[in-house]
Symmetry: C2
Subunit: 329 residues, 2 copies
Amino acid sequence: MNPTLSEAGLDALALVREELDQVEAALRDGATAGSAAVDAIGRHLQQSGGKRVRAAMVLLTGRLTGCPAPTRIRLAAIVEMIHAATLIHDDVIDEAPTRRGQPSANARWGNQRSVLAGDWLYMQSFRLALEERHFGVLDALISLTQAMVEGELLQLEMQGRVVAPAEHLDLMERKTARLFAVGAQLAPLAAGRPEAECQRLERFGRHLGLAFQMVDDLLDFTASEAVLGKPVGGDLREGKMTLPAIYAYQAAPAADRRRFEQVLEDRGYVSVPWPAVQSLVQASGALERARRESREQADRALAAMLEFPPSPWRDALARLPELVVARSH
Amino acid sequence: MNPTLSEAGLDALALVREELDQVEAALRDGATAGSAAVDAIGRHLQQSGGKRVRAAMVLLTGRLTGCPAPTRIRLAAIVEMIHAATLIHDDVIDEAPTRRGQPSANARWGNQRSVLAGDWLYMQSFRLALEERHFGVLDALISLTQAMVEGELLQLEMQGRVVAPAEHLDLMERKTARLFAVGAQLAPLAAGRPEAECQRLERFGRHLGLAFQMVDDLLDFTASEAVLGKPVGGDLREGKMTLPAIYAYQAAPAADRRRFEQVLEDRGYVSVPWPAVQSLVQASGALERARRESREQADRALAAMLEFPPSPWRDALARLPELVVARSH
């Protein structure tokens, strides 16, 4: 972790620290269904809430574009709630035992309650969004969630086979980048800012999201289990080829390609051990290539943000791409 | 099946036959995600679509209240889509192998695709609803779907234990009656009819829905597997006590109560065979009591409808309660 970049990131979040607390309060109030199961899952999600980078982005874009405080706080809570709902259903689909180093929702409460808790959170996010009384915001959120679900379905169809870089890019776009892209333009949309401004922020969010996902994929090859909060090499074990594996596969001779295919076939490191795969990926230069691309995405996000005139909010947002890429060091 | 009542019911549906075809077309067009999995599940749902009694109700209330054709057709499709989404997630939750005599969605496509297909259908129904550009309609639909999910969570909490009649009524209200109640008032709401008229139709729908669910619960004790399309006695086998079992349990001496508890404990007819349970329920008079209550609900639905001045639409709607109750004979 580069300490300079990290401090820059902390500064970026410091500007919205108080409002992030209000987002947490909105999430707490919002996830009270009167049902013990939803309440418990709501608490679980709060405790394992991560860095709320999406919420911070929504709050900062709200400040940048003159979106009133109650609206930007609500929009930030909505985005975190949608994110949480997708994570819960993801866990059910992946049968994941852990999430961020803690037992996953379905490991704790079973698939049944998790399916319903995810449903409930989706609906709660739409209910919150309805309070804005803004059709454009609702259109954006429904298109977003539908695209994310389509991304999940696409991933199921791609699972267990070799995929091309373009296929994986499409998947990252739907599964991760879209939430950042829509999240970044919600506040200006609600505030009635010009279309060009919304589109610029959409572009910022999309590239930031792509950088974020690329780094996530890298960490699965480079981080320790302690840092990652889950066993490394998990993507390939689940039959998911991400950029490092895709690039290494493309660069590999037939015999080595066969080893990747074997892992996908075995759904695990059975006949090909994880260190062998890791060596193949490292030796191929795929990690550098994927890291370079994540930096390119971060640079494009930065460039979109620098089209705005200077302000504390712009500068904080401009630091988010660095913060995201710094995770890979 | 009482042939007179059945003909009356067919007449009721005949009035909206053409528009029901348009609802089917809207469902077909609406469930095309560009994803093979969603398309397949969409087709499956169309083939096993049942009688579309909810869609017919929405169309007829639309005619009754002067709601324009495109709107009432869209609202009917939305209600069927929400119904389908809940059925898919229900099947995942119940791990049901069959639905309406055919393999269930999750038996065919697995839990993973079914969770996502349900999510997708919920979102597609909200997308269709958004096209109406009517906040009241959206509020009603979000409250509805959230109440239904809360009903499912409540059911999980009640599963495997003895429940009181009031608890079961609350569950029927959320799981079934709410969809009928909201479905019946959507068209007048969209058409801007007076609040009192919406409430009268809400009352009609709620009692119709309760009658519908009570008959469904009865059929699980009285119908043949061929008629039901799934093994009889399934509710109790899944640990769900419905009115006939609840009433029989209440009327039974301690030794017989123990037999119900045993079935709930065993999650099946292991130490207590199904015919023994069926005899207990029959001998207790619980079936007559439950049947009487379903008729009472049907009568209350009828009474609400007869508050409207005579018209072909009113008379068709007034026949729906009979049609629903006739299923239990």
